[in-house]
């Protein structure tokens, strides 16, 4: 047993302190940061001001149509145009979802882009994605795009084993020729440092980025190179003390403060192979990347990318404001994705069918008294999804009463108390104790019983049918 260092005095209270300044309920819980945060880099203590993120121009970029599409059969043109339209509504007038990228290789790719551009939305801005091949810039120019991503893989796994360069110098020279071609075409190159978290940072990445910065000084600011930090295999580590090349704080420090790449030209692109994907993206924001790259519902290569909707709620939590974002579109997007055959797990945060559904009777009891007890924020207002109760043998009369009141839309004193639901609660228990049922009871089954056992309520709130 350790010795106690400090005694803590009970602050007695007759009224609850619900910490409304952190948990306003009308918004997701706020992330309030105090600084400075210190990271030791090359033996020096380096400070980071996390609190500054509230005023920094951080944004979200999207790769649903590129990385997101690598994880599934291709979308149809109509589907992509519809999703783009919804992304624009989600983004809002301030362009929080700032950019989305498109393949340019097939006739369908190009038609999709044309039709998205024709919608005339300011955001997300459309950008391209091409190989590091000079001839591909013709596609970018013809599509009328100002910016394109290009693969500039930087680990020796890629340089030597995949791309078969004979030396790092030959590799850098080749990449820089393509960057030059982008400048010549009047296109801003966004260099995707593939496999960055498995690369030789000091020996390859920083010299390469130094050279890109030098080249960028020869072109107008709007054409200068942007850098995407690609955690291709999900190896990135968010916490202080981790070593390069896996340390996100150190990677961003090196690029931002040593190479001098401004924050608004740094973008984090993660993968979820180690379940770190969202936290890693948020960490990149805090340490100095203005862009985090995401996909809708995290669909992406293998285990996926940072989920766009999680970045949205992180953004609101950091900013303390909706910033023009229409969060209700997340539910619309989830419904649409399901309708075109993309499965979203029921327990998936913010969008799964059961993300705010409780099955435990004791939780249902809490919900019945005050939904804030077991709901993360006002999911009814922000997502059109009030908290729900799934009925099983664990739901108890509290759960059944909550379900029934939600179903009839009853609030306050109009709510049916749990004594009045005893027949329905008994029917539920008997399903398991007497009938040997092992599955949850569906809404349709409960609705039929509600009609039978509460005919007056049914007639009043559901019509006489």
């Amino acid at each position: 047993m350790g010795k106690a260092k400090k005694k803590h005095r009970l602050v007695d209270a007759k009224e609850p302190n619900l910490l409304d300044d952190i948990f306003p309920y009308r918004l997701p819980p706020l992330i309030r940061l105090e600084g400075p945060v210190v990271e030791y880099i090359d033996g020096e203590a380096v400070q980071f001001d996390f609190g500054a993120v509230k005023d920094r121009p951080i944004v979200i970029s999207d790769t649903t149509f590129r990385d997101g599409q690598q994880a599934r059969p291709p979308y149809t043109i109509e589907q992509m145009v519809h999703i783009y339209d919804l992304l624009s509504r989600l983004s809002g007038p301030n362009g929080v979802v700032r950019q989305t990228e498109f393949f340019l290789y097939t006739k369908n790719d190009r038609e999709t882009l044309e039709r998205c551009l024709a919608l005339g939305h300011d955001y997300p801005e459309c950008t391209g994605w091409i190989r590091a091949v000079k001839g591909d810039f013709r596609l970018v120019k013809e599509a009328g795009l100002k910016e394109t991503g290009m693969l500039t893989s930087c680990s020796d796994y890629h340089i030597f084993h995949k791309l078969k360069f004979r030396s790092r110098k030959e590799c850098i020279d080749s990449y820089c020729e393509v960057v030059d071609a982008a400048f010549d075409a009047g296109v801003r190159p966004r260099c995707h440092l593939e496999d960055l978290t498995r690369a030789d940072i000091e020996g390859f990445v920083l010299p390469f980025v130094d050279r890109l910065m030098e080249m960028s000084r020869q072109v107008p600011e709007e054409q200068s190179v942007k850098i995407r930090l690609c955690d291709t295999m999900g190896f990135g580590i968010s916490y202080p003390g981790a070593e390069l090349p896996r340390s996100i704080p150190k990677l961003i420090y090196k690029l931002n403060r040593e190479c001098g790449v401004p924050s608004d030209r740094l973008e984090w692109h993660g993968h979820n192979d180690f379940h770190k994907v969202h936290t890693n993206a948020a960490t990149a924001w805090l340490y100095g990347c203005d862009f985090v790259n995401t996909t809708l519902f995290g669909f992406g290569e293998r285990t996926g990318n940072p989920p766009l909707e999680s970045a949205i709620f992180e953004y609101i939590s950091l900013k303390g404001d909706l910033c023009g974002i229409d969060t209700m579109v997340i539910t619309e997007l989830a419904d649409y994705m399901r309708s075109i055959g993309l499965p979203i797990p029921d327990n998936y945060p913010f969008a799964g069918r059961a993300f705010n559904t409780t099955r435990a009777g004791i939780h249902a009891g809490g919900l019945r008294q005050d939904e804030q007890i077991y709901n993360i924020f006002d999911t009814g207002k922000l997502l059109g999804r009030p908290p729900r109760v799934a009925i099983t043998d664990k739901s108890g009369a509290d759960g059944v009463a909550h379900w029934l009141n939600e179903f009839f839309g009853l609030k306050g004193d109009d709510r049916i108390n749990k004594i009045k639901v005893h027949k329905l609660a008994r029917w539920v228990i008997d399903q398991y104790d007497e009938e040997g049922r092992l599955t949850a009871i569906s809404d349709q089954e409960l609705e039929a019983k509600a009609k039978e056992l509460f005919p007056d309520y049914w007639a009043k709130y559901k019509g006489a049918s």
């Binding site: 009369a397 609660a425 228990i429």
Partner: protein
């Protein structure tokens, strides 16, 4: 006419599937008579039906023993002008 005690014991026996003879005034509904969560709700609902009264949900569910239920129901009947003589 049966007494409040007899009527409470009869309802309790029916809901919990016991014989009235097995039920004592100081028995706890849950610990001694084995009432589960939903059965507690059913007991309150059946007492309301038996006596023609409405009980406060939280107060009624806080009653622990048969004897306390007799006392509680007697008071509610008086408050609501229900004859129990």
């Amino acid at each position: 006419m049966a007494t409040v005690e007899e009527r409470v014991k009869a309802v309790t026996a029916r809901v919990l599937r016991l014989s009235s003879d097995e039920i004592n005034m100081d028995d706890s509904f849950t610990a001694d008579l084995g009432a589960e969560s939903v059965q507690s709700i059913e007991l309150v609902a059946m007492f309301e039906e038996e006596f023609g009264i409405e009980m406060d949900e939280d107060a009624a569910l806080a009653v622990e023993t048969v004897g306390a239920a007799v006392e509680f129901i007697t008071n509610v009947c008086k408050e609501q002008g229900i004859s129990i003589e």
